[in-house]
């Protein structure tokens, strides 16, 4: 089970939050869920589900995330 | 007896309206067109109306022959002479596509004979008129030989920057005439002196494309009229709403592209003026399409952005009319997503709506109207044609089954969607030009216009609808009323910071003189009116607005006033003006008008008056309502009738919905108050 989190808008550092499935920059709210042994950031619960059902079977366990 | 006749030949019907100039009476007649023998249809109509050729003092013709030739691609083989390096302009076009997301779309086929018939002339002028490459006359002669060899039937000439600098085009024209003799030639600076080479050359090619045919058409109609006993010259309606001598139409055929609908706008302008209404939206709904136009401050709007089909412009002055596929014959259908759609395809005259009983099986707007009780099956075209209620019902029921809807609800929906399509077209026409439709009166005419006008007005929040006398043959009425009119344009760019009022004055005088000469050639002998206008924009903008100038010498002062008015106009239309911004003057226009004496329109005695009656008419949400059915001529002057009501006449029926009222004006128009 995951949860919605709010990301702070900051102009002080260039790092930006990215969805673990699709790679999209996630503005504002994001979905945090445990997937493949790690808390990962997703656009929404649907992308978390597709990470399990599509991404992992196809591409395998990711290397340690940044 | 001095008779004036206007005859409007359309694809389906030939409409005749004749005025007895001594008695002041009008008569009208609708007969079938004969595309194979248009002249014969006209003399037949005259004979049917009891008009002898000798009695015809004046005859004006509105025709769709030019438009149809362009649409059906039955014109001649045109060769194009253009600046070397730009031979492919007709094929390249503007490189955009009509709609997104449609891989099946194909670019419009150019009107030139083939790509090989587009030949480059060795010459070049710069944007400011300097000669970059001198014209090679010998080379032009070689190109002429090639065109002759290719069997070209007409030549179009369009060189870069010729809208402003005409010398090279004039020289090429002279050579072509020397070399190719009788082959018709169209030259871009004469046909359409506007900038943008593709638009100008396409217009010129279209003119050439029509020339041989229009020459034959005019000649054969003249012969037919002479044989019928008419001795006078006659005129053809131009797209700009003025009439021109028939011989002029043969030399400048592209001017006839909107000849048909232009008549309706002329008549609309007159009726509006007589009713004292300044701002009118015209709504001319016939069998296959609806034409929408604007009258602002008592004047028709003109444009040079007419398109033969999407992507093929004919940039000549035309009355600004938008046509959409919403007519009585428009077919209702279900799209792949289950949405109900109406038009743009039409059942036309053959097979026509299901209720015509000519084998049509698809439900049309006319079928829907019949089912809703809005048409009287026994009194269509004043009783000259009857409609089959059962066939209309069957067609609507078939479609209703597909949609799982009640047939009556479906019929009401068909009418509503047709009305909504029209309303959207009206929004385009009005808002695109910065006008709020709610400040207008809707003028409904054409066979089906009066039936739909009030509902269209209601959906646009237009408070009032006007139905003129003779609504079903209104375009022919306009032919009787048309003035002679010549538009001349001079294109040269100036900036407001650096404009020579003296030069502007001289050029205005020069083109005014040309316009007046042309007016005289077209047979006008009275005192002409002239109007002058400048097209201007903020420097950097690409689209201009026309500002009329007052009479008198053009001075620094006149121009300064015009700039102030431009800023005010911009503020009003777009919500902002840019202080201190340079204004660019783009083109200068003179319109010369030869007024014809006014005609008083009085309702004709109907052919078959019916006694007032009642019938059941369906309205959504209200069901069938007991509705008054009256003949137009039996409405007393000033009498107010409450809706629901149907007002019938020979060529049309006006629907007045519940909570609306209708009355007859002193001038014979019907005024429907949409929200009394």
């Amino acid at each position: 089970m995951g949860e919605w989190r709010d990301s702070e808008v900051t102009y002080l550092q260039p790092y930006r939050v990215v969805c673990a499935l699709c790679g999209q920059l996630v503005p504002g709210r994001y979905w945090l869920e445990l997937a493949a042994g790690e808390q990962r950031i997703f656009c929404n619960p649907d992308h978390a589900a597709k990470y399990e059902s599509y991404w992992l079977p196809r591409h395998g366990q990711p290397e340690a995330s940044r | 007896m001095a008779l004036h006749a206007g005859i409007d030949t359309g694809g389906t019907f030939t409409d005749l309206v004749a005025l007895d100039a001594t008695e002041g009476t009008l008569r009208a007649l609708k007969t079938s067109s004969r595309p194979d023998q248009p002249g014969r249809a006209i003399t037949t109509a005259l004979a049917d109306a009891g008009i002898a050729g000798e009695a015809l003092e004046r005859f004006t013709h509105g025709t769709t022959v030019g438009t149809n030739t362009l649409i059906e691609r039955t014109g001649c083989r045109v060769g194009l002479l253009t600046t070397q390096g730009f031979e492919d302009t007709p094929y390249i076009q503007r490189i955009n596509r009509k709609v997104l997301y449609d891989l099946s779309w194909t670019k419009p086929k150019p009107l030139v004979a083939t790509r090989r018939a587009c030949l480059g002339v060795s010459e070049r002028l710069s944007a400011s008129g300097e000669i970059v490459r001198a014209l090679d006359e010998d080379q032009v002669r070689e190109l002429c030989a090639e065109l002759r060899e290719q069997g070209i039937e007409a030549v179009a000439i369009c060189l870069l920057f010729s809208y402003a600098y005409t010398e090279h085009e004039q020289a090429v024209k002279r050579i072509v005439e020397e070399e190719l003799g009788a082959i018709p030639v169209s030259v871009s600076h004469e046909v359409a002196p506007i900038w943008r080479e593709y638009e100008r050359s396409n217009t010129t090619v279209a003119d050439a494309y029509l020339k041989p045919l229009l020459r034959r058409y005019v000649a054969s109609l003249s012969d037919e009229l002479v044989a019928y006993g008419m001795t006078r010259t006659w005129t053809i309606m131009k797209s700009n709403g003025g009439a021109m001598l028939s011989s002029a139409a043969a030399t400048s055929p592209i001017q006839t592209v909107m000849s048909g609908p232009a008549g309706g706008m002329i008549a609309a302008e007159r009726v509006a003026a007589r009713e004292g209404i300044a701002n009118v939206i015209t709504f001319d709904m016939g069998g296959t399409s609806a034409d929408v136009g604007l009258i602002v401050d008592g004047q028709q709007r003109h444009t040079t952005e007419y398109e033969i089909e999407w992507g093929l412009p004919a940039s000549v002055p035309v009355i600004d009319i938008k046509s959409i596929g919403a007519g009585g014959g428009s077919v209702a259908w279900v799209d792949r997503g289950g949405f109900l759609r109406v038009g743009p395809r039409s059942a036309g005259a053959q097979p026509g709506p299901a209720c015509y009983g000519r084998g049509g099986e698809e439900a049309t707007v006319t079928d829907a109207n019949l089912l809703l009780g809005r048409l009287d099956p026994g009194y269509f075209l004043g009783g000259r044609m009857s409609l089959e209620h059962n066939l209309a019902r069957a067609a609507i029921e078939r479609l209703a089954g597909q949609l799982d809807m009640e047939p009556l609800e479906l019929a009401a929906s068909i009418v509503e969607i047709a009305n909504e399509n029209t309303a959207n077209a009206i929004k385009m026409v009005s808002l695109e030009r910065g006008h709020d439709p709610r400040r207008f009166t809707l003028l409904g005419f054409g066979g089906a216009g009066p039936l739909h006008a009030a509902a269209v007005a209601r959906s646009l929040d237009i408070p009032r609808v006007l139905i003129p006398p003779f609504p079903g043959v209104f375009s022919a009425v306009g032919l009787l009323l048309a003035d002679l009119r010549v538009d001349k344009i001079w294109t040269k760019a100036f900036r407001s910071t650096d404009v020579d009022a003296g030069e502007v004055q001289r050029q205005f005088a020069l083109i005014a003189e040309r316009a007046l000469a042309e007016l005289r050639q077209e047979g006008f002998s009275g005192k002409p009116e002239t109007r002058r206008a400048i097209n201007m924009r903020y420097l950097g903008q690409n689209y201009e607005h026309e500002l009329e100038l007052p009479d008198g010498e053009v001075s620094e002062r006149t121009l300064a006033d015009a700039f102030t008015r431009f800023a005010e106009m911009h503020q009003e239309r777009y919500g902002y003006a840019i202080d201190g911004e340079t204004i660019e003057l783009v083109s200068f226009k003179v319109t010369a008008i030869g007024r014809r004496p006014p005609v008083r329109l009085v309702d004709a005695p109907p052919e078959h008056v019916r006694e007032p009656a009642r019938r059941e008419v369906y309205f959504r949400g209200l069901g069938f309502l007991d509705t008054a059915l009256v003949h137009r001529s039996s409405l007393e002057l000033g009498q107010v009738l409450r809706g629901p009501a149907l007002v019938q006449e020979d060529s049309s029926t006006t629907l007045v919905a519940p909570e609306m009222t209708v009355r007859r004006s002193e001038n014979g128009s019907l005024l429907v108050e949409v929200r009394p």
């Binding site: 503005p27 | 490189i95 090989r116 909504e420 950097g540």
Partner: protein, 584 residues
């Protein structure tokens, strides 16, 4: 509670007529917004080429309607608006505000495209957003005209504007205006263009107010939701018609302007019932130069492909996009990371991605796909100072390409590539506005269409001559080294390219040969002088199907019109062989 449960007590379904009317009204409002922009804007890319789009959103950032102007913008604006709302929050919007935004790393497509967004209120409640996005011809990049072919960071591509208010409660925010105008080379043009965009937003607001006054807020809100649901349902039904499977296609961007190349793009397309997953895993790392696509651009290119493959009458709103998941690993050419440059991603990489979908699905739905189009906008940038007025000028010039052959028809000649729908700038307008060049010729190129049963459309060629003492030029073209591919047995169309001929020198050479640029097709800041010439060649479209199966009549007509020369007809279509055979 999940977010979707919020809208439970929706009113009863609206009837189809009301929905049709609503959809038409919203779409025609978007179109009217466009007309206002066209009539009042300043830059030719805007008012002559119509490189802009107009859109209506609901307060949740869902697209309700769009006018059909520019496909790539319509795909990306959805991301731009979402980001704006997410960053500012709904409570930040007030009546009369206008937000400006062009930062690709905050959801925009590329730097020249500026979005203006206006909230629409009804009786104090935020009920919609109206927005437009337009390509500004000058944005203060390292070289004039916005697209710097050799940029290595986004900072060289122009002034970045995060979502900020340029109007607050109906009043201009002068500080923002000053910041922007001080950073653009042609501030007067920027000023005129922004005002045109704002006028269009005000028109849209008035139109929505009229709609809500007439139909009621409930109908507007419920109708909007229902139109989105209908669009989604219909899009899913269309996808279900495509056979399930995993389809692959590969293409590559030939170079990045810095000298590196090529950059393969790998697409794995999974069609599973009504769902589509477009997965770019395995594509090249992001480039140093400006050929990278930002995520929004890649997603937009995929949407664009499917909108071309499905029923064009589906209402164009948020629902169309829901069936798609686009997987684009960060740090790749299809989803680059800050601060990589992105200008060419939107103009160049985008159409290539769209074509890749057609390539992938060629065997699955052969009657619906097309061969590759020329796939480049041929961006040619220039700027300088007008000797007559002393005013600076800058221009982004682009060209059409041949389109790919189809299952039943040849490709169109010279049309703007599939991610745009701009018009060309007429020669007479171009030379009047930009006296730096005279155009010597603008032609179709015979034989440039890829041979096929249905051949590709023709590309073309344009030659410019410099007519001023000096002008700065740049370029960001593609398909100079890679073919516009044919499909299902069709052959490739002709490549495009860019050449220069110095005054007094008779030879056409590449910019690499003449100026030592790293790439022949992507560079900036080259100075040309009076009499120098530039030649842009626009690629043709790929052919569809085996050329030997082409109708003899079509081959003959092509020869007659001059679209195909007799030599090429012999070589590709076996033209004379067949006749000799018949005669013998």
């Amino acid at each position: 509670m999940t977010p979707s449960q919020g809208a439970t007590d929706a009113p009863a379904a609206l009837d189809p007529v009301t929905l049709t009317v609503l959809d038409n009204y919203l779409t025609s409002t978007c179109r009217d917004m466009g007309v206002t922009m066209m009539t009042t804007a300043y830059s030719p890319i805007f008012n002559e080429s119509l490189d802009f789009s107009c859109v209506i959103f609901d307060p949740r950032g869902q697209m309700l309607a769009q006018a059909e102007f520019c496909p790539s913008q319509i795909g990306t604006i959805k991301f731009t608006v979402e980001w704006t709302i997410a960053e500012l929050g709904l409570e930040a919007f007030e009546q009369g505000d206008v937000v400006i935004h062009n930062d690709p790393y905050r959801g925009s497509g590329h730097v020249p495209e500026h979005m203006l967004l206006r909230p629409v209120f009804w009786e104090g409640e935020l009920v919609a957003f109206v927005a437009n996005v337009a390509h500004m011809s000058e944005v203060g990049a390292k070289t004039p005209g916005g697209l710097s072919g050799d940029a290595t960071e986004i900072f060289q591509e122009g002034l970045l504007i995060p979502p900020v208010k340029i109007k607050r409660r109906g009043e201009d925010v002068p500080d923002i205006w000053k910041m922007v105008l001080a950073n653009h080379r042609t501030p007067r043009v920027t000023y005129g263009d922004f005002h045109a965009m704002m006028a269009s937003l005000e028109l849209a607001e008035r139109r929505l107010h009229a709609l809500i006054a007439e139909q009621g807020l409930d109908t507007f809100t419920a109708g909007g939701d229902e139109l989105i649901a209908i669009a989604e349902r219909r899009m899913r039904a269309e996808i279900e018609e495509i056979p399930d499977g995993v389809y692959r296609f590969e293409d590559a961007i030939e170079d990045d302007g810095i000298g590196e190349g090529s950059f393969p793009m790998k697409l794995e397309l999974t069609i599973d019932g009504s769902e589509v997953i477009a997965d770019f895993t395995g594509s090249a790392r992001q480039a140093v130069g400006p050929v990278n696509a930002i995520y929004a651009v890649t997603a937009s290119a995929i949407y664009n492909a499917f909108l071309h493959l499905t029923d064009p009458t589906i209402p164009r709103n948020e629902g169309c996009y829901r069936p798609f998941t686009i997987v684009a690993p960060r740090g790749t050419i299809v989803n680059c990371e800050f601060p990589a440059p992105v200008a060419g991603g939107n103009t160049e990489t985008s159409p290539r991605i769209t074509d890749m979908v057609f390539g992938a699905l060629a065997d699955a739905i052969p009657e619906r796909v097309v061969a590759s189009c020329g796939g480049t906008s041929s961006p040619f940038l220039f700027g300088g100072r007008d000797a007559r007025s002393g005013e600076p000028y800058a221009h982004f010039h682009f060209e059409g390409v041949g389109w790919g052959g189809r299952h039943d028809a040849d490709g169109n000649d010279m049309i703007v590539t599939i991610n745009g729908n701009c018009r060309n700038t007429p020669v007479e307008v171009f030379e009047t506005r930009y006296p730096a060049f005279r155009i010597e010729s603008y032609r179709l190129t015979t034989d440039s269409g890829g041979p096929g049963t249905f051949r590709g459309g023709l590309g073309g060629e344009r030659i410019f001559t410099v007519t001023v003492a000096e002008v700065t030029v740049g370029a960001l073209l593609n398909r100079m080294r890679a073919d516009p591919w044919g499909t299902l047995g069709g052959a490739a169309g002709a490549r495009g390219g860019l050449w220069v001929r110095r005054a007094g020198n008779g030879e056409w050479r590449t910019f690499v040969e003449e100026f030592g640029t790293a790439s022949p097709s992507k560079f900036s800041g080259v100075t040309l002088h009076d009499g120098d010439q530039v030649k842009i060649v626009m690629p043709g479209g790929g052919g569809y199907g085996d050329p030997r199966k082409r109708d003899r009549e079509r081959v003959e007509r092509d020869i007659h019109e001059g679209f195909v020369g007799i030599e090429a007809a012999r070589e590709h279509y076996g033209y004379e062989l067949e006749r000799d055979g018949a005669d013998g």
